[in-house]
Each structure stands twice: as structure tokens, then as C-alpha cells.
């Protein structure tokens, strides 16, 4: 590091901006199968190297290789492909619905489908996710009805949340999906508290916390790591590093530490860094962490390395801050294509069957959409009653709210 007699403030900048040529040559990507798999009871300090590498299973030829391969059966992998395709198709329909004015807002998962879809398959009933707005794969892969997701997005009269929440801020207790806050980072420490409660009650359930690269800067992230470390809570601390926090590149939150996974090391929390576009790698790493947590081994931090191929939300235009070609230059590829190729290489899949499944899923999503739209969309048809607005502020409505409801005339 060159030293100087004069101070100057360092403000990090991404490698390229719009107009520039995307360059990921500095992203160090190890070969698939090259990262070791420690035993699930390994001491955190014996596996610090995993915070600086990337666990990958699928190689460029589409083969599953190395010590992290083999966590899923053929049937399960086919199901995984189906889940990711469903999530992508669901996103496409809902983006279109938002453009058609059927809802106010939408957030898609393009490029990140593997993470939530594969992760959910490492959990058991009774476990609880504390998701952000970009983990709807947890619901899809948990067989939550798509029509209920759409009802929520439309805020219609069948909305399970009665129109109280922004689109995609789902809540599904029955499916281990905690109410999404919309405020960033707050739920990371709540997941740790939930996990502590499970340990206090000597239960068998584990919690999973979710956060993006940008929000790791929030103080709640650090509180969560302290609590998880101190009380050895049975929690998986997921960081989805999709490179961009709206328009802010990940270097602004990461600072000089090398990787987000390395944040765990100072707390003595084992940290895995995984190829987030590799369904098999995400599942294997998640299962490692889930098994460890469930057997009282405490927390694991997982950094899922991926790329947000789409806009942050329907209110965002990424071409204003990053090259348009950047997503196609992303070296970890597309998660659906990669798993599809893997299945073809194994002789379990074909282009024809893929097209056929795409068509089936499209029909399924359209059918769900039609059913949801029978209950209304944001500005047309059925909507939750204004009377409902006053319910559930408290278990029992206090007198001042009763007076206000009366004033509102609902």
C-alpha cells in the first residue's frame, strides 16, 4: 500500500460504468469440485479458507464434481429445475401484470433463482426463514400456492395479508416463511432470536436469516452475528451477494475485507462462500449448515455469490449505473441453463422435454393468474375492506381505534 504525507478519502468505485466494457477478470472463480468439504462438526477456525473461495459443483461440461456433489437424488434435481423455471415464469407474468397496472410494484429474481429454490430443499417442516423480498423461491420450492402469492401481489379480496403489505412482502407461517418487513436488515437479528428460542425450548427447528450484500452494512447485521456467535444459535446466516444494492455496487458495503463471508470469521462463525448460480452447490452448502445447526453445532454464515440480472425493482433502471451487457458477462452463468445442461449430460433431460415443461409451467402460472384476478387486482375488482384496516393493530381493539373506525364510517 503506497503511503502519503497527505490524507485523502477513499470512495470505492465499480470497475466499469455504463458505456464501459464489463470486466469480471478480478472475480476469482475456482474450478468446480476444487473446494474441500469439511466435516459438519469442523471447528470454525479450521475452515477459514472457505470464506475466501467459492464452493462449486457444476463444471463447464455440466457434470457434478467434487466433494460437495451428490446431496440430491435425480428426482430432486428435476424438481429443482422445475422450481426455478416456475419462479422465472411467475416473475415474468407478475412483471407484466405490474406494467399493465394490475399492481403497484414488483421485484423479480432473474439470475438468483437457484439460491432460494435450492436452499428451501435443505430445510425441514417447522424451520423458519426470515427472508428479504427476493427469496420467493422459498415459497415456490415449499409448495406454497402461487395463487396466494398473486393474491398478495394484487392486494385483492383474497389477499392473505388483507392488502396491508406492499407486493411481494409475503408472510406464510404455515410454510416457514416469516413476514417480510420491507425494512432492510431488521430481520437478521430476529432470525437469531427465533433460533435462540428453539434452543431455549430444546426444540429441533432451525432458523434461516436472509440479507443482501448492501444491508450487511446495517447495524442489525452485526448485532445478529454477535448474538449468533455468543449463544451459538441454530441459525443459517445467508448473505445474497448479487453485486448491486439498487445502484450501489457491493464494494461500498464490503469495504476492504475481501469477501462478505469473511465477516463471519471475526465472530468465530464458520463461513461458506458458494456459487449462487449453481443449484447443486447452494443445496449442498445449505444442507451442511442445516445439519450442523440442527445438531447443536451453532450458526453458519453462507455468502451466495450471484448477480442481479434484472432491475432492483419495477421502479429501477439499471442501465443508468451499470453496463447493459454486464449480466451476460457474469462468469457464473444462468442457474436454470446450468442445471438444465447438467440433467441433459446425465441423460435425464432433453431440449424437447425442457420446452414442454416450459409450456406446462406457463399454463400453470396463467391459470393461477386467472384465478387470482377473479378476486381482483389493485385497482379493479375485489379489494380488502376498509374495515379490515383497523383490525390486528392489537389483539383486542382498544377504545380509541373503535372510535376512529366509527368516524371512518366503515
Amino acid at each position: 500500500m503506497p503511503l502519503s504525507d497527505r490524507l485523502s478519502l477513499h470512495v470505492p468505485e465499480p470497475e466499469v460504468r455504463p458505456g464501459g466494457k464489463p470486466d469480471f477478470s478480478k472475480v476469482d472463480i475456482p474450478e468446480a469440485g476444487s473446494v474441500r468439504r469439511p466435516p459438519e462438526d469442523a471447528e470454525a477456525e479450521t475452515m477459514r479458507d472457505l470464506a475466501y473461495s467459492i464452493i462449486r459443483v457444476l463444471n463447464p461440461e455440466g457434470e457434478a464434481v467434487g466433494p460437495w456433489a451428490g446431496s440430491l437424488t435425480e428426482e430432486e434435481i428435476l424438481t429443482g429445475l422445475r422450481h426455478m423455471m416456475m419462479l422465472r415464469a411467475f416473475d415474468q407474468r407478475m412483471l407484466m401484470a405490474q406494467r399493465q397496472g394490475k399492481t403497484s410494484f414488483y421485484m423479480q429474481h432473474l439470475g438468483e433463482e437457484a439460491i432460494s429454490c435450492a436452499f428451501q430443499r435443505a430445510l425441514k417442516p417447522g424451520d423458519m426463514n426470515f427472508p428479504t423480498y427476493r427469496q420467493a423461491g422459498l415459497l415456490i420450492a415449499g409448495d406454497y400456492p402461487m395463487v396466494d402469492m398473486m393474491n398478495q401481489i394484487y392486494s385483492n379480496d383474497a389477499d392473505p395479508l388483507k392488502g396491508r403489505q406492499l407486493p411481494v412482502l409475503y408472510s406464510a407461517r404455515s410454510h416457514g416463511f416469516f413476514s417480510v418487513s420491507g425494512n432492510l436488515g431488521t430481520q437478521y437479528i430476529q432470525a437469531v432470536g427465533w433460533a435462540m428460542a428453539s434452543a431455549i425450548r430444546q426444540g429441533t427447528e432451525i432458523a434461516s436469516a436472509w440479507i443482501g450484500d448492501g444491508s450487511t452494512a446495517a447495524s442489525d447485521f452485526h448485532a445478529a452475528l454477535v448474538f449468533a456467535s455468543t449463544y451459538r444459535a441454530p441459525v443459517i446466516l445467508n448473505i445474497v451477494n448479487n453485486q448491486w444494492a439498487i445502484s450501489t455496487f457491493q464494494g461500498i458495503a464490503r469495504g476492504g475485507s475481501g469477501t462478505f463471508a469473511a465477516r463471519g470469521l471475526g465472530f468465530g462463525i464458520p463461513a461458506l462462500r458458494v456459487d449462487g448460480n449453481d443449484y447443486l452447490a447452494v443445496h449442498a452448502a445449505s444442507l451442511w449448515a442445516a445439519n450442523r445447526a440442527r445438531r447443536n453445532g451453532g450458526p453458519t454464515l453462507i455468502e451466495h455469490v450471484t448477480y442481479r440480472a434484472g432491475a432492483h425493482s419495477t421502479s429501477d433502471d439499471p442501465s443508468a449505473y451499470r453496463p447493459k451487457e454486464e449480466s451476460s458477462a457474469w462468469p457464473l452463468g444462468d442457474p436454470i441453463l446450468r442445471l438444465k445442461n447438467h440433467l441433459i449430460v446425465r441423460g435425464l433431460w432433453s431440449e424437447d422435454r425442457h420446452r414442454q415443461l416450459e409450456a406446462e409451467i406457463r399454463d400453470e402460472v396463467i391459470a393461477a393468474q386467472k384465478e387470482a384476478e377473479r378476486h381482483g387486482t389493485l385497482h379493479a375488482g375485489g379489494k380488502p375492506s376498509a374495515r379490515d384496516m383497523f383490525e390486528d393493530v392489537y389483539a383486542e381493539m382498544p377504545p380509541h381505534l373503535k372510535r376512529q373506525r366509527q368516524q371512518a364510517g366503515v
Partner: protein, 337 residues
Amino acid sequence: MPRMTMIEAIRSAMDVSMERDDRVVVFGEDVGYFGGVFRCTQGLQQKYGRTRCFDAPISESGIVGAAIGMAAYGLKPCVEIQFADYMYPAYDQLTQEAARLRYRSNHQFTCPMVVRMPTGGGIFGGQTHSQSPEALFTHVCGLKVVVPSTPYDAKGLLVASIEDPDPVIFLEPKRLYNGPFDGHHDRPVTPWAGHPAADVPEGHFIVPLGEAATARPGSAVTIVTYGTMVHVAIAAAEETGIDAEVIDLRTLLPLDLEAIIRSVKKTGRCLVLHEATLTSGFGAELAALVQEHCFYNLEGPVARVAGWDTPYPHAQEWDYFPGPARVGQALKDMMEA
């Protein structure tokens, strides 16, 4: 019946609750082995073990955030914020998470949790150990706000708060921990021992949330207040000879509006009194409600006495504190108006 200080009453409330319900857990800074800087949790770790009563890292957002997760799981956490002045890092978790979880999830998830915090001044705590932030909580829909003024109420209200299905902010006037302080800081400390409300049953009982008490019956003017100021108000009435009725709100939210209306309609005058700063304080809400509901019964304007709109100073503590002289003067002014 045993005589208890407010500290002992609060401890007894947690003890009784932990005994009856093993979902109740207690944690916070220094609350475990040591029993809290004010000793409110003394002996609880010894009795219930380290997984039911334990020390937390110095992270208020962490303490409250973890408690929210525990409550969502099905526990009933009763956590301590060491001073109300330290709650600000947890304010996001309290106002946007705990307060709204039931609403935003359509009651799939709820947050039955108590956040205890010592409040108010009078112990030379300076600006970071003396604040009264109750209005920052009453402004937040989804929270309940409780402020006891006696050991009996402290125990009964705390047990009720722990049993409540929603998040409760439990503000403990720290100057009342060891005695019924009436604002005469220059006089010897009065212990709780001789006070009737220090007779506190050892076992389980509750004081329901949302019910005010008449701390002093009177006919000339109604003083609506809570916490430490209840005792100051009574002293001011006695010293001025103005027969004030003192309404001790006990719960600020939900508010016992009926009790206020009943008293003001009877006396025709109303003084709103709190230790917190004046502007946008809870007294503003009270004054608005009184004029809304009792306008035609009022003989004069609703008056407010409160802490000055300055940070809580250290050396000038007793110039800041709205003691019996200021309250007495306000009463006289009202009666002459």
C-alpha cells in the same frame, strides 16, 4: 402482606410470571448473574437457570430484535433496556417491527413481549440517564405503554404486561424505585415502607392495562398525570390547599379516557402534568382530548406543566424538574383565572 419497594415488586412480577409460565424469559445488559444495575432481576438466574435469565451483549437493537424473534417463536420475552435513554438503537425494531408484526402478517405472527426500561430523572443522571421518552412510543400504533407509580401497580401492571398478547413498553420511574418521591429533593428520602401501596401480595395478581386510578380524590381541579409526577401532584395539592383530583393514568396506551372525562366534568378544570419535555409531549394529546370531550364543562383553558424543552441538565436538575412549586403555582393560576 409483604412490604416491597418498586424494585422488589418488579422483581416479584417477573418471578411470579417465570414460575407460572416457562415461556417467559428475561434478558438484557447485566441482568443475569449480577441481577441488573438497579437489581430488578436479582436472583432470577439463580432460580430459573441461565437459559431463562441471561446477560445480553450491549446492543439494544440486538436485544429487542432477538426478543421479537423469540416472541414470534412462541416465547414471552421480558427484556430490560438499562436506561430508557439507551432505547434509541432499538427504536427501529420497536416501532417498525414489534409494533407492526401482528398487523402486517394478518396475525400469523405476533409479538407478546415486554420491554422494561427505567425512565425519568431525579438521580443526577444527566441527559443520558434521565429522559422520559413515552411520547415516542404512544405515537406508535401497535405498542402499549405503561408507567406505574407505586410498587403495587408496578407488580400488577408488569404481570399484566407479560401476559398481554402484544408488545408493551414498561417505563419504570427510576426515582420511585426506592420511595414515593414528591419532588422535594432537599428533604430526606421517604422509603416505600410506610406507604399503603407498598403492601404487595407475594403471589400472582394483575392490574389490568388501560385503567387509570384516582390517586387523590378532589373537587377543584383535575390533574392528569403518571409516574413520578403522581406524587408531585399530590404534594402540590396538599401544600396549596387546592383540592385537586389526581388521576394516575398508569397506562398511557390504551388510555382510560373515560376516567379523565369523568373527573374533568366534575371539577371543570384540568392540568396536564409530566416530566418529559413539553412540546409534542403526551400532555399535548391529553390536552387535545380534554378539550374535545369536556370543552363545555371547562371553566378555563387546559394547563400543562412539563419538563422544559431542553436536554435534561446535570447540575440544574432541580431547575428542570417540574416540582411541587411549579405545579402549585400552576394550580393557583388556574384557580384565579
